[in-house]
Symmetry: D2
């Protein structure tokens, strides 16, 4: 057992930290102000492409890919501290071509895609030339139970016909979003977890309509955004099916393992950032003739934040290590654990940071409100807390099967 | 001891409930959709004035005023259940002319205003013809310690000169907002709580500049809003001073007692509304072949919400009763208690309701995100939780003075 | 609505408070030391009988009885503040003949007892000459579901035969405990809530064996105690049946309403006592050159305790008022609510008080450890938190029946 | 970074686990029943010495010593999982000669002891022939601030004279307890952290009086126990001073680092045991026709327990690793973090396990009540939560010195 990052990881940590410090932090506030001043916020400002080019040139590109062919060959465990660093910024993930949902989509295409699919979609995604969406959640049903999904992906000859309505499709607002993965019902008569398929669709396919973009606590997260899409008889070639009919859940399971980890890593960074802002504000502001940090229970809040971050980070690293060692399937409990822990931990610390910032903390003068929205949303995205707790308990109870009374 | 509302209160409860059910609920969703579709949201849509007229005609007007001359003569205790009912809606408070900060401002003018001030400002406020703002919090200092305030209200001959910067001035965005109460430093050499004064200023006075409107979790609360205002040598007649120089804190204390109670009453209603939405959603949606309410700990969440609402409501009612019996000064601990309890309770229940709504709960499809922003903001407005907890402990410890070791 | 106690209640509050202050508090510590120094702690020390005589002479006797025939005619609402006062002391409840489970048993006998049962058992209980037990919980099954009970009370001619094993029968260790109420299965074929009966049995009946006394966190609560009893073909006359065969649940429901309230009232008093001890210790002790109360988050802990006590007390009073107005059946949710809230609130405050007392708080130098055990046990006794939360949610959901999806 | 234990650690884990499973678990319940049935519980039953001999023969002895000379040469990180295993049992720590406070005392003697002190005390301690105590906490002052200590250790010629009163001296009740370490004031005029010294004293020295043993929630933890000791002019040779006058705090700091870690490791094991008992009970018992585990929020409780244990364990391992790498001084924040996290986590899980056990959980039929007492006590022993939180915050704030406003 060893808590020190590998030499390779340490090297990347230093480089990513330096890049963020030198290239991103100095411009992020201006970038956000500029973006938010625009009438149309669904744009890519030039600075983003410049930064992407610089990152690519510096070899800080596709860091999340665990193999050397596509990425830099970092394990999930090695990537974790980098994802954490990018979680401190709203734009860093894209700058390093490591943002959701593209990362997950790229992994799916790399693992399950045909050569044609890889050529058409994976290559430009890896080059950062296009972006993608993932369409799973539906407005009409409790999508926490994914088998509830009612949208259909019916094979008709050499075409697949998509119908239905999806929402919370992240990234759909981005002007470069060119492709999406649609998950839908292909065979309602198959066993419960073999009814659904994943199908690639071009964003400009006839019948695809973005009905509206959805706010999260009033934040639209431009230019990525979360959208509601209608699919009306959208016809795509049969070759757009990923892996094969009925394999949707199998792919989703593999996709969501690392994907959830990435979110959680970034949440650790977000929580660190919130704690940092909290400590600075608590030092600078005075009330009743004392810096806020010396008032009431504020030091307890800081200590609790530190403890909760440390614990959550270690659990995320452990989960990443397990995915590396035994795969996502063998790390199911750990993945669910961090999926519950990380956003709740982050939400609580951000809330405390807001409180110490007073009214300012609620406004957009600080990144806290947007961070809160992000953390809060991740208590639902990729499975709500409740489903993950249920899974953790289920796995725990396997040990006690012999004791179980009959229902 | 008796937990039944007075006959008079019961009568008003029935009438206000019926009015909200028959006149407000049927149109509120449409109203909000219409407002949010506008380019300029800082407007009063005609339906609001219509509803105000109906409410006035029905005798449901200025309900908060505890005397019969200005209102309908309900005590704070009797007004509480009515404020709770209005807390279920975003527009009901204005419809009954019972919305903050006008209520507090009207009470100040009624209690401390000169006949001229009352004629000029109280009368149109009571008639619902104009609206008002209250300018206390400042961006540059921790306003949780009100003695930190640095804006100045200097008497120069027969004029008062206002300078400084205020923010989180609620209601400033309303097109009818015509007057504000400015709290500023008049005499820096006086004892700590006698340095500040309250001064009336017309919104259109030269030197008053609304620099910007502030979002709370991305919500601007149009058409009321919260603004940042700059005062540059704003000159108003000496007759605009309320009560007299140095009496700012004295008035603020009296103003905030009932004001805090009103907020808390409305939060109870908001929490009830959130619980209602939670129970409905948990009944209607199914996952894993069961209604959500029958899954996991959801029933515990509902039970806890019910218990916390009941407790908070009783504490708010008790605090209202104490203000009626012994005045705000004698109810200081109780007022601070509900000021801590009510928004925290509401925030937690709204958060739980969002969770059961899934992604939808985060969007504007439901009122939950806006309610969350409102409840969260009230953990800071009118004094942050921390200050109120400190005050409660201070009052508690008075009993133990004789035991206190020397510091 | 009125938060002031009735004149009658106020008079009793003053008298009970004075009695406790003048007669009980001065001797309680000595009494406990004396008792705990005894080899055999299952004794009634003379001071107890002296105090009982004084209380009876002062008219402070059977205060819990809501009618004038048997008690002093205080409503549940009026009795609440008195029970709260007695909750501050381990012996006060018995001194005023108001201790569990005798109070509940007396109420059962008064309401459902035959004249013979009343003559034989109610009269000496009311006189404080004997004590009683209530035997419901069983070691072999989850008694949170009372229909699980397996002990039997079979009618055989003019006798009833009791068999089975009960535990957590409180008061069974008391030397004056002469009678118990046994709840057992009489008719396994009846509908689920009409299978059980309540039967009176003399403690010295052949076949009744106290197997052992049970500690709660190491406390045996002498001389009352909680015992495990074996019933081997215990034969009692058919006249010992209360109300009639199969009416056990009906009686239990009525019995437990006020009984739960009494426990909760006492817990409020216990919490107040703990807060008092906490404030005194936090004032007297210094660390890092400051009284503990001025360190870290200690004032927040005190403020939170004050708020939670206030809220819980009001909810208990409201529940008592509802029992008075509409009966226990109409106050089911409120009774369950306080049954959850009061012990959890008390446990948390006592735990915090222990923490401020340091090591001493864990020992028997302070009453805190015993109080903790008492509060903790009440999260299980008379129904665990979980069952009560379930009931609260069930009642809440009745309003939403129309919305419920099919399971 | 690697989350797999070293081969050496894995080997010991297997052997310790097997020893506990084969030798200790089968007899522990009988042992405790036998001990508790004794009139005098302050005895060493023969089985203990037998087990010690077996453990020693198996090479499972003094596992905690980080060097090969005295122990088996396991690092703190490697010892952690072994300590965790011993934490599942009340007797395992002594069986492996790894119990507090002997471990800490042995480390002090090894690091700071003179050859004479080592010969006289360390050798028999390491052989498990004698046991020891550590006397620091005092009843008269808040010992959370160790500089409050008032007992004196005055050097008079070639003797040291000990005076004062200590309590919560653990192990003092053990019949083999032969020596103690006394911490007392030697030079009141020295700087604050150089006034105290550590001095060895034989338990049978004239003037040493064990006044009483102290219960923790009614548990005396026989035969170890926690005692209150009076020192009246206890004279020991000057050679009993450890390290030198005024070095008490320096030694304490080093002693408490690993000592705190050991406690926390055992708490992890205790929490695992509680979770195990909880899952078994929740499987076996049924209510409302379902196993308890399928009722209400019980699965959430299990999931939360699993997550909190995992997180706490990782933090303890990280702290152990840091002590190994940079020493206790460099791991101050991490040590304080686990000292707060571990007992609170364990207390909460044990409390939840009790709840699922119903009444039985409160009694001595299960180890839960004793475990609760142990975990609760560790929120105070070796520094209360509050002091550790304060230290964590202090270390955190060092980064923000430049931002600090003047007080």
């Amino acid at each position: 057992m060893d808590f020190q990052h590998s030499a390779k990881a340490q090297d990347y940590i230093q480089r990513v930290r330096a890049f963020i410090r030198d290239e991103i932090e100095p411009i992020e506030e201006d970038y956000l102000r500029e973006l938010h001043s625009r009438e149309n916020k669904w744009v890519v400002l030039p600075i983003i492409e410049e930064l992407k080019a610089k990152a690519k040139a510096a070899g800080l590109w596709n860091l999340f890919f665990p193999n050397e062919e596509h990425g830099v060959g970092l394990s999930n465990l090695e990537y974790a501290p980098l994802a954490e660093l990018t979680g401190r910024s709203f734009i860093a993930p894209e700058v390093f071509n490591c943002n959701a949902p593209d990362t997950g989509n790229m992994e799916v295409l790399e693992k399950y895609g045909t050569p044609e699919q890889q050529e058409q979609w994976l290559k430009p995604l890896m080059a950062g030339e296009i972006r993608s969406a993932f369409c799973m959640t539906e407005p009409g049903v409790a999508s926490s139970d994914a088998t509830n999904m009612q949208a259909t992906a019916m094979v008709e000859g050499d075409e697949i016909v998509l119908n239905g309505r999806k929402w919370w499709s992240t990234g759909i607002g981005h002007p470069n979003c060119k492709v999406g993965i649609f998950m839908g019902l292909t065979n309602p008569d198959a066993p419960r977890h073999q009814q659904h398929s994943m199908v690639l669709f071009p964003m400009d396919a006839p019948g695809v309509t973005i009905e509206r973009m959805l706010p999260v606590f009033g934040h639209y997260d431009e230019p990525y955004g979360h959208g509601e899409i209608r699919f009306d008889n959208v016809r795509v070639p049969a070759g757009n099916m990923i892996a094969g009919p009925g394999r949707g859940f199998e792919i989703a399971q593999g996709r969501l393992g690392p994907g959830r980890i990435h979110h959680c890593m970034r949440l650790i960074g977000m929580a660190e950032k919130a704690l940092e802002l909290m400590c600075i504000r608590a030092s600078e502001r005075t009330a009743f003739r004392k810096p806020l940090v010396n008032l009431g229970g504020n030091r307890d809040i800081i200590a609790n934040a530190r403890m909760n971050i440390e614990q959550a980070r270690l659990l995320v690293l452990k989960a990443a290590w397990m995915i590396d060692k035994v795969g996502a399937a063998g790390a199911m409990s750990e993945i669910s654990q961090i999926k519950v822990i990380a956003p709740n931990m982050a939400q609580e610390i951000i809330d405390a940071a807001m409180q110490i910032h007073g009214g300012g903390g609620l406004s957009d003068d600080f990144p806290l409100a947007a961070m809160f929205a992000g953390a809060r949303a991740l208590r639902l995205a990729d499975g709500p807390d409740e489903v993950h707790r249920g899974l953790i308990a289920k796995i725990e109870m396997i040990k006690y099967k012999a004791h179980m009374a009959h229902d």
